[in-house]
Symmetry: C2
Subunit: 348 residues, 2 copies
């Protein structure tokens, strides 16, 4: 039998956060690509766009005008997926037809008035203001009786379903714990109860020793390509200290988090010299009023690009029916990201 | 409190196959779309393309020439995600770094020599030949010692990562039970053991009574938009008789399955008068040599289009971090599909 090689042999890896196996086909990156090409993002956006419903002072589709805001701006989503109103639960008892009304509040968060300034091009001090707004939103929404979970996320780039290039994120808060959050919580809890330590503390301690999947670090955060990553350049930002949610970050940690966000996204932009698309999102303690010592603050980045600014990884047939699959090892992706410059390519 | 309405109030539904909740925001279909538009498929493909590596007689990238085939043609994938060779399992004991070598065989199945003939435009008798090939592959691959699961699937359309428009599907067979198959099996088993009947038998019995989610049926199969569908026009083909895998289909059932495939995909093409993209795949008994009375043959269709031939649903930020979300009720989608003609729009 051949000796096993991460970069040669097909294998499966286990994601301990979701409790799921994934398939790795490291040799498959050699496959030629004749399929769909994504159109690359327009690179020269204006600083202000009169037709953009997110720019300061402009009119939104419901007739409301945005404030003449100067840094971060948060407002209720005009087309929310969740509503505050309560509806009576329907009477249905079959286990095959389970349905529950769901309540929530959705908000939009513009990162700055600049129509053309994404996180990698923002100053670290400006990114801190975004983090400050996330803290305030988590507190404000989380304090309501009927809100038990606050999902902070960003869809960046048209290929990730973003419908407006003005840099912004979203917050969907709701009564229930969403499926993936509930799974993660169950796994974090099992580990915490068995070991008395947070799963992610143990995980990053080991990763910081092994180094092969670490992309960058600073005093308070580590950024790595998780052992079980599915997207080609997927990363995870984890706080070195074990705390549960964004409001528990110290001022120093907040600066360090902004630094990690900036450095990671600069590397991302530099990878294919393009405004790198991704979906990112924070996983942290639910706002259900319970104590959750198992939670350990972290942020996921799921970027779709595989080989170039125009060729993405498709999570389709096999992946939908069977399990997630990647064409390159996490170690190789981490090495590529690690070696990239931390100066944005536009500034060279 | 307001009385609950499926088509008005945000709610969650439970998928008993995967054991997961999903979010339904039926009111959200009204949201305007300014995001990415897909380029629609070239409609006039030639019957034979000299540059296509799937057409009969043509050369593939490894120098091999395809047979001068006249109906279905199956060959080993030139860029397989899985390999037959065995590699020694690495020594690693940490529960956070679990990795297992995986073996398998991947094949490609051309549906016919015609470069331009997708399933909705094929004769029912020609579709039967595809089903016959699926049976043979399931038997051939499944009979090998190291193959415990045979995943039959199709990625149709560039938007679903299909890299060659010549109508074809794939088969990825492997040693392990993939994540989603394992989850489905566990849920089918729990139900079967508790009730002595297959989950899907009980489910379709109820759906055939309620009718609101049924798209079409024939003597042996029902096609419906599952109660817990996530994709806008997701459907499920279920056999009326409870059997576990494709080799157990009677000749009459095989004809009926071909009929269901044809009628469903014709409706799909008619929906936006385009060659409708989707990923489809069969879920059936694993080939692990064990008895699996819990399994009930079914086929999933996951089509991405939402509003038109060029606007798809993006499963991104919230969906990746939290849970799958849809913008229209299953009942509404089923009604739309049900009302569509069963004559292909090109033939009118
Ligand atoms: O095998 P193909 O057609 O080259 O590739 C397509 O299907 C595979 C199986 O679903 C996916 O892994 C690829 O991302 C997709 O592009
Ligand atoms: O809310 P937006 O930006 O209009 O929409 C985008 O993000 C949402 C949340 O991830 C998704 O449900 C949509 O499919 C996507 O297009």
């Amino acid at each position: 039998m051949e000796a096993f090689d991460n970069n040669e042999h097909p294998h499966r890896r286990f994601n301990p956060l979701l409790g799921e196996w994934i398939l790795v086909s490291p040799h498959r990156a050699k496959r030629p690509w004749q399929g769909q090409k994504e159109s690359t993002q327009a690179l020269n956006l204006p600083a202000y766009d009169t037709t953009c419903y997110l720019c300061a002072g402009n009119e939104r589709s419901n007739g409301v005008h945005n404030d003449a805001y100067t840094d971060v701006y948060v407002f209720d989503n005009d087309f929310p997926s969740l509503l505050e109103g309560e509806a009576e639960a329907p009477a249905e008892t079959s286990p095959l037809f389970q349905l529950k009304p769901e309540r929530g509040i959705n908000r939009v968060i513009c990162f700055s008035p600049r129509h053309d300034l994404t996180i990698p091009e923002m100053e670290v001090s400006a990114i801190q203001k975004v983090i400050q707004a996330w803290k305030e939103q988590y507190t404000d929404l989380g304090s309501r009786d009927f809100i038990n979970h606050v999902q902070i996320f960003e869809n960046k780039g048209a290929v990730m379903g973003c419908s407006n290039p003005h840099p912004h994120g979203q917050i969907w808060s709701q009564s229930s714990l969403p499926t993936n959050v509930e799974k993660t919580q169950a796994n974090l809890k099992k580990y915490f109860e068995a070991n008395g330590r947070s799963l992610l503390s143990d995980y990053i301690a080991e990763e910081l020793q092994r180094k092969e999947r670490v992309v960058l670090e600073n005093e308070h955060f580590v950024v790595l390509v998780p052992f079980w990553a599915i997207w080609p350049y997927e990363t995870l930002i984890v706080s070195k200290r074990h705390f549960g949610n964004i409001t528990q970050m110290t001022p120093e940690e907040t600066v360090a988090f902004a630094d990690a966000l900036k450095r990671l996204t600069v590397k991302y932009d530099n990878l294919f010299e393009t405004s790198f698309p991704y979906s990112s999102g924070i996983h942290q303690t639910p706002t259900d009023g319970q104590d959750h010592p198992e939670w350990h603050f972290h942020m996921h980045f799921y970027p779709p690009l595989l080989r170039s600014a125009s060729v993405k990884k498709f999570m389709v047939g096999y992946e939908m029916m069977a399990e997630a699959q990647r064409d390159v090892s996490s170690e190789k992706s981490a090495a590529i990201l690690r070696d990239l410059s931390e100066t944005h390519y536009k500034q060279k």
